[in-house]
Amino acid sequence: METKQINLKIDHIPVAVPEGTTVLEAARSAGIKIPTLCYLKDLNEIGACRICVVEVKGARSLMASCVYPVSEGMEVFTNTEAVRKSRRLTLELILSNHRMECLTCSRSGSCELQQLALEFGVDTVRYYTGRPQPQPETSTLHLVRDNSKCVLCRRCAAACRKTQEVGVIGPNDRGFQTHIGSAFDRDLNEVDCVSCGQCVVACPTGALTVKDDTQQVWAALADPTKHVVVGAAPSVRVQLGECFGMPVGTNVEGKMLTALRRLGFDKVFDVNHAADMTIMEEGTEFLHRLQEGGTLPLITSCSPGWVRYCEQHHPDMLSHVSTCKSPQQMFGSLVKSYYAEQAGIDPKDIFVVSIMPCTAKKYEVKREEQRMANGCMPVDVSLTTQELARMITAAGLMFTQLPDGEVDPMLGMASGAGVIFGATGGVMEAALRTVVEVVTNGEMKPLEFKQVRGMQGVKEASFELPGKTVRVCVASGLANAKQVLDGVKSGALQYDFIEFMGCPGGCVNGGGQPVQSAEIRSFTDVRGLRAAALYSQDQRMTYRKSHENPYVQKIYSDYLEKPGSHKAHALLHCTYAPQKKYRV
């Protein structure tokens, strides 16, 4: 059915837009940007903050354009004296309640509230509430929640409830007492927070920020007794450039490798390689379960946010979750065993740093079941893309001018299959590239499984193995994962292999990614552009299947014997256990 076109005038400019469009979006089509604060397209459209108000001819009061639908013949004015005055007053009232320590706030420069104050020329605040300011909450490993900088826009709550269906934070109390918090105002480490960091991604101010662990890394780099090793996750290389003003979707792998080396890391490996190792182990596990009648569907375990969600909300499904450690943990485990042995270094003297697009990885590195037989934790510190950018800046490295560098190949050389791990569907496609060839003993054509690509929340596909049709499903975002799990549990959905990633779009949209404003996030396909950069790197690779990676083959021939061997299990696998949702 054709959508009806609505004709209206915005600031005297005639505009025709489909019925149901909001005034805010209609204005954009006329080249007019209406300022917003609480608005995040498709996620938080609640008209709460009143920054986006406009005058509508004939209306009694100013209207919130983000939720006001267009109608035939409507006349809208976005820049009148009344509008400017109202927006400014609203902003002053929000600021009256804001702990303005902008000089020392990690969101300074990327804060949407600060940007609005600049745009509106608010240089003094006439009001002051005088209320005692809440103290920052630092109970979790991955984020800091500082309600003294909260503007009550509810973007975080929407991300937690709608995108993730975890819903550990929301508005508590009412009126002047309203604040964002967990049930019974418990600390986040006492509730079923999965550490995904989507609330941090959604926050316009410094109320939710990634916990900074860079000092630990600087200290290790300065310690002559430590052999400091680093590896970055697939998606980091297509995010990092944004921190230095490069366009979304720029692949800066070469510059990133140079930067890591110049920061002083003794070895610059790559978690892409560990992703290839994950495919070898997980692919073998899948084939074993398929051929020996094991528990199916097999569900991937790369995403620690998803794993924690499963432990808390769907403990009955844990037997489906792959026993493979995540690529980050495989990376650390191999550094502190295989590499340590080859290089003749005591694993206890090695300090492993991972660079991740992810906040849940900070939690994963501390999980006790990850501990190795030699007593070491595989990874010592997990930094987010944001934190790496901070280190690069602090070191005075002019990132955009850095030459391209090379990886240390032993645990660094990867195939294209490892590269695409960073996007939703990437793990599945990488696994299929190997599984199909191992089973059919022939070369797979075509190599690409495009059915599992793209930014849709749930994708499914099937492919033929000799004597068996294998049904696969890919979902990202925990709300989508829940929907699939419910279907699997009820029997309505039947799959053999499922890939879940905790964040919508996968790691390219992780909680530790560079900050992008609502303006960018609402009207640019940020995750799609980043994912496209990964797929294009895959196309340029010499090896595109994990099992063809010579540095993967070498580890198996020199050290682990074969995928799924006893030694591989001891080093690269673990099991997960149910966790309590509530602390009562």
Binding site: R161, E165, G167, V168, I169, G170, N172, A183, D185, V584
Partner: protein, 164 residues
């Protein structure tokens, strides 16, 4: 926070819990079920402790934070049971201008609790109310059925000691 988590141990019975489960089952799947279920739960238990809110969240398959958000938003819900002695101090206009705020501070200090909560032994609960129609006696408070008027903060200790 005025209506904070209770310090009194949960004493819900099996019968109460079963009755709650029936109410939840009757509302499950309906949009806007949280309000009526919480109202019924408060009717059953007298207040909404964390244990009860968890039953509601699990039963309706919604996040606990959503249940708590509703329970803490509306004045009709209380997270604390009523004490053996229920103190109601009037904060209406007349009482307020005659110094009720200082009296309230004195009570909070004496009992070590804030408005809307209960002493850990369950003896006293403290609420602020609006006009009880005795403005001539302002500031005024009630402890169960007893009325105390023309209060000053220094009288509070002696009055409360009578109930211990």
């Amino acid at each position: 926070m005025p209506n904070c988590k209770t310090v009194v141990p949960y004493t819900g019975t099996k019968e109460q819990e079963e009755a709650l489960q029936e109410i939840i089952a009757a509302h499950k799947g309906q949009s806007g079920a949280t309000m009526p279920v919480l109202q019924a739960a408060q009717e059953l238990f007298g207040y909404l402790p964390e244990e009860v809110q968890i039953m509601v969240a699990e039963g309706l398959d919604i996040p606990l934070s959503e249940v708590y958000g509703v329970a803490s938003f509306y004045a009709q819900f209380t997270l604390n049971p009523k004490g053996k002695y229920q103190i109601s101090l009037c904060l209406g206009t007349a009482c307020y201008v005659k110094g009720a705020a200082d009296v309230l501070t004195a009570i909070e200090k004496k009992l070590g609790i804030s408005t809307g909560s209960i002493t850990p032994d369950g003896t006293f609960s403290l609420d602020a109310c609006r006009c009880i129609g005795a403005c001539g006696l302002a500031p005024v408070m009630m402890i169960n059925e007893d009325v105390y008027g023309c209060l000053t903060p220094d009288q509070i200790g002696a009055i409360l000691d009578k109930y211990n």
